[in-house]
Amino acid sequence: MSNLAGWGHYPIVATECLPERGPVDIAGLVSAHPSMIARGHGRAYGDAAIGQPFTLPTLGLNRLRSFDAATGLLRVEAGVSIAEVLATFVPRGYFLAVVPGTKFVTVGGAIAADVHGKNHHRDGGFADSVEAFRLVTPGAETVTCSRTVNKELFAATTGGMGLTGVIVEATLRLRAIETGWLKQQTHIAADLDAAIAALEATAASTYSVAWIDCLARGNALGRSLIYAAEHASAQEFELLSNGRTAFPPARSARLAPPLVAPSWLLNRASVGAFNALYFGRGVARAGAPELVHWDTYFFPLDAIGHWNRIYGRRGFVQHQCVIPLETARGVLAEILDRVARRGSVSFLAVLKQLGPSHGLMSFPMRGYTLAMDFPMTDTLLPFLDEIDALVADAGGRLYLAKDARQSRATFEAGYPGLAAFRELRCHTGADRHFASHLSARLGI
């Protein structure tokens, strides 16, 4: 047994890591090791990718299998990362239909968490760009799932957190792009109402997201920068390019905190200063559209390798909830107010609109999602329980890929597909073959 954690370094729990193997060995490992969970790059924040008791690495599933330039259909093994797909296909004029906030996740993980991007309000989640995938079932068979074949298993596996089987291969529909640049327009919102209004006003944009200054209080509560963007067309690129190359390669990580940072590094003053600088920079850029590198627009944090280390030895928790449209305004204001009053140092608060999703256990629903990082402290967990109560009362839910600590009650209240999901797990034998610390904690 060894100790393993997710991206947040909380919790750290014991699991038995199986050897990394190629695709032909996965079925054998599945039948020999009940019960397990698949793990790719370990970017789930909490305990979703830590097996109970076995953890199956999927990074040996690392080959592309086919690409059809005419249709944009790409077939890949499930351990291939989004970074790799983009590094290969951006220069050829293709982009993934949906990307999350980090490119260092595997395709299998992206399907299992049905990850969303800055275009969820328009294009849906990652699973909506998946034509089909191959799944190793509890019986160690490999089956194809799509919207027409094994469709119940398809719906349960997209967003199913690896609890229906091991995804070994997937066919994705890429989108054609004319350039590797985004035409970004920055809007300033003085408070939460303005931020929500700006997100509504930019809903016609393919991509839109708000960055909230969580330390702003009173009249400035919810003060935000809204980044709306489109893939720049060849013509727009010509106008703004200034001699830059049309399909720039990926940027490599330039900085990385060498070791775990001391916990005093993040405090109200340092984060306040950062937020003020960041906000000032955004204000300076607002107005005219500008070209932004695809890597910078979608994955700003990936430029800092191991940014999770800045939260120190105790790690951090990301709290990401979604609140239904009707109640969003009031509940978000209440959450932000409590966070501001607590003086919690959350650098990264992100607000965006979500549309409906199709997976049985997918996180998105029509409404607004708010994501905030909190360093782990003695008072954090009770505080987050208070926030959860607001979320649950509003009919919202928490994102399982980020979760490390929610209660069963919060979880059960938020996921109406749970009963059907449990029944499918029981019926297929997945409940006896696939388990993570998250599924054990939440009784999935």
């Binding site: 990394e20 190629g22 032909v24 080959r63 592309l64 299998r65 690409f67 077939r75």
Partner: protein
């Protein structure tokens, strides 16, 4: 036919074979992969095709069936411009010490088979007047060590074979012979070993060094991890009474 060049990679199911195929495809080459494990080789071929748009074909080759080597070469669609052997089998030294047919398998795989195969290509290349032969050997062949001397001895033989072949070819014409000694490479073959990070390289690095030496800079004997040259030079200089007492 276009003037696109062709590379044949012997050992095309391996991690180094895959990385080398990708490097050549990115350079615009047509790639042929030869391997016994056709499913793994096809997986590599699919990947290289998807990434580069270059078609990659897979050819059956069992290195322990040396009687079929002449037919294997004859049945290639054409004579390639470059042939690269990444054939290798680390084996289990302990088992080889008590199982002589297993020891023979290690030695045949690492020495006899690649030498015999490359020699057939050398003859064809010589007749044509051009061609490049790359043999991936190992630093393990620079001095025999207790922990892997069947593998090391076979690689030593292969390195000497390449040296001799290079000598013969350079006297006879334009056929080039390149010896590559990668040192520790992080692959499936070494996945169970603890390797020193400062001396360990990735398959991509080996591939780009192979491509550099074979097609660009004209070097003939390369150590991929440069420090390994120094390490092996020191190891080779140790006097035998001292060397034999070391655990290496």
């Amino acid at each position: 036919m276009s003037d696109q060049k062709t590379v044949l990679i012997l050992g095309g199911s391996s991690d180094i074979g895959y990385a080398t195929a990708l490097r050549y495809a990115e350079g615009g080459w047509r790639v042929w992969l030869a391997a016994r494990d056709l499913a793994s080789a096809q997986r590599n071929a699919d990947d290289v095709t998807a990434r580069s748009g270059q078609p990659v074909t897979v050819h059956a080759l069992d290195v322990l069936q040396s009687e079929k080597f002449v037919d294997f070469v004859a049945q290639m669609p054409a004579l390639p411009d470059t042939v690269i052997s990444v054939i290798g089998e680390l084996g289990d030294q302990k088992r080889a010490e008590t199982d002589s047919s297993y020891a023979a398998m290690i030695m045949r795989t690492n020495f006899e088979a690649p030498s015999q195969l490359l020699d057939i290509f050398a003859g064809r290349f010589q007749a044509r007047g051009t061609g490049t032969i790359v043999g991936v050997s190992s630093v393990a062949g620079d001095r025999g060590r207790g922990s892997n001397y069947f593998y090391g001895a076979a690689k030593a033989g292969f390195s000497q074979y390449l040296s001799g072949l290079r000598n013969r070819m350079s006297l006879a014409g334009k056929v080039r012979v390149v010896t590559v000694k990668p040192g520790f490479v992080r692959t499936r073959m070494t996945a169970h070993l603890k390797l020193p990070a400062s001396l360990t390289v990735t398959p991509d690095r080996v591939a780009s060094d192979i491509y550099g030496a074979a097609e660009e800079n004209g070097r003939e004997v390369i150590y991929v991890a440069k420090r390994f040259w120094l390490v092996m030079t020191i190891i080779c200089l140790l006097p035998e009474p001292l060397f034999k007492r070391l655990k290496l």
